[in-house]
């Protein structure tokens, strides 16, 4: 079974609005609904869990019902960091799922993720043990000490920018969380950082610059335009 875990527990103080960005309305429905719809319509996804910001669980459940998100099985309260939320969700899923199930972790604020990217993340996990979507940077990169001057160029091929989805075997992920706890690795932003700090390599899957992460009010406008284009309205 492939389970999607949507991360919607974050609160970003730099986002200049009273509504958390994952719940901001775009064309009269919250951003997270767009993300849920993509996983609902993806043939390889069997069930969905939303790790939610406290106080917004009812809203998520209500909109899911309204928009026919029948795959949504669990709405839980998330943790304070990406790592903590990932751990809470993993523990909860292990109660009713098996170690051989697959968990596809995705930011609720990336509503432009494509079917292709999700499929490749799952495929890479089945083949390589995990699939973390990543893209090559089109910009040149320089090392800097002070943010004002550059001292060394790095080839843009020498690194990748990491996105979500990030797909793991549920049992593996549970073990990784236990190991991280033992080693005192806590409060990482993302699951991939935790895995990497455990000394493991992270396997890349397909990403895209179109897989926009909504971080600012401008990104909301950007998503609106991309969404309208995707539907042929512009």
């Amino acid at each position: 079974m492939n389970i999607a875990l949507l991360l919607a527990a974050g609160i970003d103080p730099t986002f200049r609005m009273d509504i958390p960005k994952q719940f901001v309305n775009v064309y009269n429905r919250p951003v997270i609904v767009y993300t849920m719809e993509i996983f609902q319509n993806h043939p390889e996804i069997d069930a969905m869990m939303v790790a939610c910001l406290k106080g917004w669980e009812n809203m998520v459940a209500a909109y899911a019902k309204q928009f026919g998100i029948t795959k949504l099985k669990w709405v839980i309260e998330g943790g304070g960091t990406g790592q903590e939320t990932s751990k809470i969700a993993t523990d909860r899923l292990m109660e009713s799922c098996s170690a051989d199930d697959i968990i596809v972790i995705h930011d609720a604020i990336r509503p432009m993720v494509s079917d292709d990217i999700i499929s490749d993340s799952i495929y890479t996990c089945r083949k390589m043990g995990m699939g973390v979507s990543a893209v090559t940077s089109m910009d040149n990169v320089m090392m800097t000490d002070d943010g004002m001057t550059g001292r060394l160029s790095i080839s843009r091929y020498a690194f990748r920018r990491i996105q979500t989805p990030q797909t793991f075997w549920l049992g593996d992920l549970k073990k990784a969380h236990e190991e991280a706890l033992e080693k005192g690795i806590m409060s990482e932003n993302d699951t991939n950082n935790m895995i990497s700090r455990l000394g493991r390599n992270v396997n890349f899957s397909k990403g895209s610059d179109l897989n926009l992460k909504i971080n600012t009010v401008e990104d909301v406008a950007m998503f609106k335009a991309l969404y309208a284009m995707k539907n042929g309205d512009i």
Binding site: N140, M143, G147, N193, A221
Partner: protein, 246 residues
């Protein structure tokens, strides 16, 4: 130009690419979006900027007349020179710099910019020129917002770079004309021929490089997906502009 020579700022636009990555017959800088080729959006930004005195384009072979016609049609009257583009960023920049020899003084400023970065703004250009005037170089750059992982094979990676230690360098990049020309000549002498941007050459020559203010929206159009992103950015920008005038 008058008898009294003032330092001038020349925009040097790199338009030598053939668009192999977009797999289109039309080179990507000439792909039309909302009835206008991408390069014209780019040229408009420099045309409308009061700090820019003239424009030189190193252009893909066979498209010079097309470029000239579009520029005339769109009122880009700062476009003074069109020279042959090379097969990469380095040779395109070099061709244009050599053409400016005898025209520009050492202390004049060249603002090198990708034709396929049409979202460049007046603010980005202004800060780039200002930094070059003050420090000798201005490289528009942005902080990295995502997690970065080092990779050797492109298939898997590990954390090796703190994203706070790096800047993503874009164009425009402004330099003193004399320094830029010297760097390109020296690079040729040393057999360096495949640099995408002038900053890597400058670094090789031990020049100190200063960042100026870039933008995440200043995207480089290299794939078909990027064209969608550009359209969305453009629509969003237009909407913001409309609201201000209500």
């Amino acid at each position: 130009m008058g008898e009294e020579w003032m330092d001038v700022n020349i925009a040097l636009i790199l338009a030598g690419g053939s668009g192999s990555r977009t797999e289109q017959s039309v080179p990507k800088q000439f792909i039309s979006i909302y009835e206008k080729p991408i390069i014209i959006y780019t040229l408009e930004a420099f045309q409308h900027h009061p700090g820019v005195d003239g424009i030189i384009v190193s252009c893909i072979d066979g498209w010079h007349d097309v470029l000239r016609s579009y520029a005339v049609a769109d009122g880009i009257d700062k476009l003074r020179w069109i020279v042959d583009g090379g097969d990469n960023g380095q040779s395109s920049a070099r061709n244009a710099l050599l053409a400016l020899e005898g025209v520009c003084e050492d202390d004049d400023i060249v603002i090198i910019h990708d034709a396929v970065r049409p979202m460049v703004t007046g603010e980005i250009i202004a800060d780039c020129i200002e930094k070059a005037q003050e420090y000798g170089s201005g490289l528009s750059a942005v902080r990295c917002q995502e997690t970065i992982m080092r990779t050797e094979d492109g298939k898997c990676g590990h954390v090796g770079i703190d994203r706070n230690d790096i800047m993503r360098v874009q164009t425009p990049q402004a330099y003193k004309f004399g320094n830029a020309l010297r760097a390109h000549r020296e690079a040729l002498k040393r057999g360096i021929t495949n640099a995408v941007y002038t900053n890597t050459l400058m670094m090789e020559l031990g020049e100190e490089l200063h960042f100026s203010c870039g933008s995440n929206k200043n995207i480089k159009i290299t794939t078909l997906e990027d064209i969608d992103i550009f359209k969305a950015l453009y629509i969003t920008k237009r909407d913001a502009w409309l609201k201000k005038n209500v």
